[in-house]
Symmetry: C2
Subunit: 354 residues, 2 copies
Amino acid sequence: MKEYPVQRAAALKPLPDPDMLVFGKTFTDHMFLMDYTAGQGWHDGRIVPYAPLALEPSAMVFHYAQEVFEGLKAYRSPDGGVQLFRPMENVRRINSSCERMCIPQLPEEDTLAAIEQLVRVEERWVPAKPGTSLYIRPFVIATTPSLGVHAAHDYIFCIITCPVGAYYKEGINPVRIYVENQDVRAVRGGTGYTKCGGNYAASIRAGERAEEQGYAQVLWLDGVHRRYIEEVGSMNVLFKIGGTVITPALTGSVLPGITRKSCIELLKSWGVPVEERLITAEELFDAAEAGRLEEAFGSGTAAVVSPIGEMGWGERHVTVNGGQIGALTRKLYDTLTGIQWGTVSDPFGWTLKL
Amino acid sequence: MKEYPVQRAAALKPLPDPDMLVFGKTFTDHMFLMDYTAGQGWHDGRIVPYAPLALEPSAMVFHYAQEVFEGLKAYRSPDGGVQLFRPMENVRRINSSCERMCIPQLPEEDTLAAIEQLVRVEERWVPAKPGTSLYIRPFVIATTPSLGVHAAHDYIFCIITCPVGAYYKEGINPVRIYVENQDVRAVRGGTGYTKCGGNYAASIRAGERAEEQGYAQVLWLDGVHRRYIEEVGSMNVLFKIGGTVITPALTGSVLPGITRKSCIELLKSWGVPVEERLITAEELFDAAEAGRLEEAFGSGTAAVVSPIGEMGWGERHVTVNGGQIGALTRKLYDTLTGIQWGTVSDPFGWTLKL
């Protein structure tokens, strides 16, 4: 496996209180950097002290958002070891995002090796308290100092890591969401299936408005018909209706979530019927009003699963499972987190021990 | 008018050969910076030596593309003075972009003052050779070092400038374009009407594929029906059909171009009928095949007008005006550039002399 040179930080930071960790605000001592230069390809992968990036004001990332990212976690297992969850899925997905954004493909094995080596270097930062983890953020930015609207000739691939607290500190409380009727996150032919910055920028306004109205997130509709459900906030979404779990099909405007995929694979292994298909807001609310919507939840790396307790769509308001987490949602959460933290066996070979 | 503090560069760069200027690659000696801090608002506007920006690797602009920009030019008039073209339109538009991206509004008069002062400081960089100008690029980036998907609390507003050569060095040659059937640039409910980075990132792939096939740009269709024409490349598009100029209506997914607006106002002042409405690729190609498409051109700050000589749509290929620039396109180009460079009178009050 590729081994990158390491320049150690002169002084290490004190570890934060694991009870006080806020997502994405505290970063570790080191980061991984690798440069891309046209004609030379990706080169000079290295682990260096965590420090600001100095970029020309004309760097393309500041103007044309040629940028993609990934998110995954390192988990402390009961034996004191550290493990990753399906990291090669993230590596493949960042390359899918890169393709759409005209960013050169990353070497997959070497990229996984970079993630592994950085986590080993930062091993003391992987917290042990239940529910905590080390969040890993690989990202690529276009650095060419040029204002022409073209693919850049120069990029930086960077990986930063930050310890994160338990997502559910006080038990899993289902959230309130509503159907967004104004803003659209993505459309077929666009970039919805990628983790490019522009998708997230476009989603901020709806999320802010939802919070102002006391909702945790929005349920996104498709950009073409404004009828079909796509995602919830920045998570995939799954519904249990009449015993079958239904999740929006990957039509190009939906992110192919790794937690989504893992939920589907687990459910199928349990004999639960799963349908990946188009589902309208109307079908969903009709099912809820007929008492057939049994469970609803978002899926993503941060929360694993996030149960939905209440949903609004214009004048229609429904409660899901009496506002409580459903049994199947709970089982998915317990199984996935058990596999991720190494407290239950992993029959799928999803974990990678470092 | 607001006057900002100026920190002069220790050494000034030599001026480039005006015949060798490439768009967006050579930057001047200074830039304007202003910071935004939550609770404090925009503060510390200043002109400083042009230098790299040092940002935390977790700065939101690198991950979630919370960023907007503008583009305008300073022109050297025959009397040796320098003038801007409708700069307040750019200031208002950046604030429209900011609103969509949840970026705090810029103070409009002070922002215009910043543009004016920076151009005065960089006055020696405004080239005098016909067709050359000083391109001005204001932009805002989110700098908060946090990975949560929310509006940032901290921003930088920056203005950089670069001398640019004549867009048409060897006379105006109409370009070949084709209708893009796969990728989509924007959709209603999205961000198409703004100059946010994500729009441009999403457009790069189609532009690259067009160039590979010998076309200058793509003609974008709407994301909903994939029938209605929206823009050409990163320009607005106008067609003269049967004596009337038709341009796509501003439905939310089309940029409200300042050159577009100026073309419409000029055409109306000349008594030319103008329609801002939906137009399908089918209507356009039918008109062309029936000999009714008289002229076609893109409009934007860089080229002013860019005549279209040939268009492809699947198996259909048409030539516009025998591949030559049309008379009305030519008149628009001559009038607009005349007003911009101060060689013809400006009855509209569009120019701002510094």
